[in-house]
Symmetry: C2
Subunit: 343 residues, 2 copies
Amino acid sequence: MSGRQSGRPTLEQVAARAGVGRGTVSRVINGSPRVSEQTRTAVARAVAELGYVPNQAARALAGSRTDAIALVIPEVEARLFAEPYFLDLIRGVSAELAEADKQLLLTLVRSEQERQRFEQYLAAQRVDGVLLASVHGDDPLPDRIRELGLPVVMNGRRSEAEPVPYVDSDNIGAGRAAVAHLVGRGRGRIATVTGPLDMYVARARLGGYRAGLAEAGLAPDEALVSTGDFTEEGGRRAMRLLLDRRPDLDAVFAASDVMAAGARSVLREAGRRVPEDVALVGVDDSPVARLMDPPLTSVRQPIEEMGRTMARMLIQEIHEIIAGPDEPRRHVLPTELVVRRSC
Amino acid sequence: MSGRQSGRPTLEQVAARAGVGRGTVSRVINGSPRVSEQTRTAVARAVAELGYVPNQAARALAGSRTDAIALVIPEVEARLFAEPYFLDLIRGVSAELAEADKQLLLTLVRSEQERQRFEQYLAAQRVDGVLLASVHGDDPLPDRIRELGLPVVMNGRRSEAEPVPYVDSDNIGAGRAAVAHLVGRGRGRIATVTGPLDMYVARARLGGYRAGLAEAGLAPDEALVSTGDFTEEGGRRAMRLLLDRRPDLDAVFAASDVMAAGARSVLREAGRRVPEDVALVGVDDSPVARLMDPPLTSVRQPIEEMGRTMARMLIQEIHEIIAGPDEPRRHVLPTELVVRRSC
DNA sequence: CAACGACGTGGGAGCGCTCCCATCCGGGGC
DNA sequence: GCCCCGGATGGGAGCGCTCCCACGTCGTTG
């Protein structure tokens, strides 16, 4: 407000003002315990008077840490997924990082070229760690980043046996809960619209669906399984196929709300009433679920909580770079069925 | 891949390998013209062989620029607005920044405390400029940032006479287009559900609504104007009020799709058919518009394009910090009516 | 009563880059 | 043949911080 004269004040100037050495001010700023109470107070006053804020670039250069982490979102996915998904995730990550006083660098990767540029950024030591959202089964990026010696945490995993630390939601449980609910409503010919099967999340939900059938003593039937791609149009196509193959189906578990919306429109065109003729369950509990007619029963994932957990894990890892071959950390958060009128 | 021995290579090492001085390598890296073709090639080879990537912190410290910009989103708004709004905006900003080789620092501000912390970050010289999304009429932040000497560009404006550079969509045109369309369909008692009137965007859409009525030769009627808050519940409340006051209304222009959804549910409860009894138009052309029953006619804003424009303007400004009292830049992008079955 | 930790402190030595000045070289003008 | 000029180049001087070692100054201990 007042003390500024030319540019921003430096450590040196604060030291001079407080009548101490540079090192001492640094210690105070960084909360070192080896400073007398008296000195600490004097320095704090000088800091306040000058409005001193440490220069981040200098810190990063001298201390080789940036207090920033990167969140990588593949652009393609950003379109497919229920839209608010990434916003919720960002919200969680951001909240946790704010508490830890770290910055969030957001990177939307939209092409192979941009992915390479991103690796350059990492090499430029701009961040202390990386958060990866929505990885495909064959994505090499997680491993590449680890080779660079940077901590990584992923949202979701690439396969059952994922070596890289991750946070996932209980997708198997999601499928089981949906099927169990449908069975409980007296449905016996339950179909499913899956996601693209090169994504573990899609396979897991399908696995949950099958497990649910098995638990209910229902026989699996491949004619009741149709592959979508997490888009509305994909859901529509898959639903048409299902009606062709098994016109007698009485329930559908769609692996996402968006696909459920697609399926719902096909059902309407085919003259099937929801839920009277066909019960419908989705996954995500996104806003569209609430707005559908009838409102869609859906399995909720704790997206924001996943974001928080990821950030926490990453910060944890950053602090442990010294530690040896850390056993990979995993977190699988529970999902929850939100019942509405569609079944 | 191979040349790495201990840590990442530095300028100095590249210089040694290429048999030139540090300054020359720096010139090559930064594309200075004062380097002979021969030298340039030699340096480029050394860079490639060593896999050299300039250290960002050192650059920032020595050159006092960070090649990063901050995008600030108030968390409260992130919930109110049609959800995909900010993702679209981020997408546009991100795309433009990637082209300019700049980093995006995303900041969700959820409290006064966090806002202050954010100002600290700015003072720490972490970014070259700031993008501000969704500002309220009395938000002092834009001015504060300018006081810090940082370029700013806002999304939307705080008032008609906004001194800070901004990118906005043609909200007045949006209101006019909606009303004109309704009039064209033979509606004469057109109501509106507005946003919170402390936001310019809400006032502008209301202004457009009034202009539209005037242009059609319809008399304004304050009983047909009801204030919402951009939430579904707010839309519901406002719609109930409207039905109370003017049961004979035959059309509603809601200033957002989300509020339109709220209004729609009230209309259904009141036994009014859409569009037969009451025609409905929203704003945003969000996914919910497409999924509503009937699908909602809505005014589309070019959100991603706004993001791109903002980023472009900011980069522009950053390059012109030398220039004098730059006349504030403004961009107002056109909106477009997307006709669906709700009217 | 000398020797010795422990604590608090000051400040040198970088971190890896950009900026800029000094230097070198060759060619053209007189 | 000498001088001058401009383009190409080398490298010193920081940028503002953290790290760490060295230096008092005490209160303890044998």
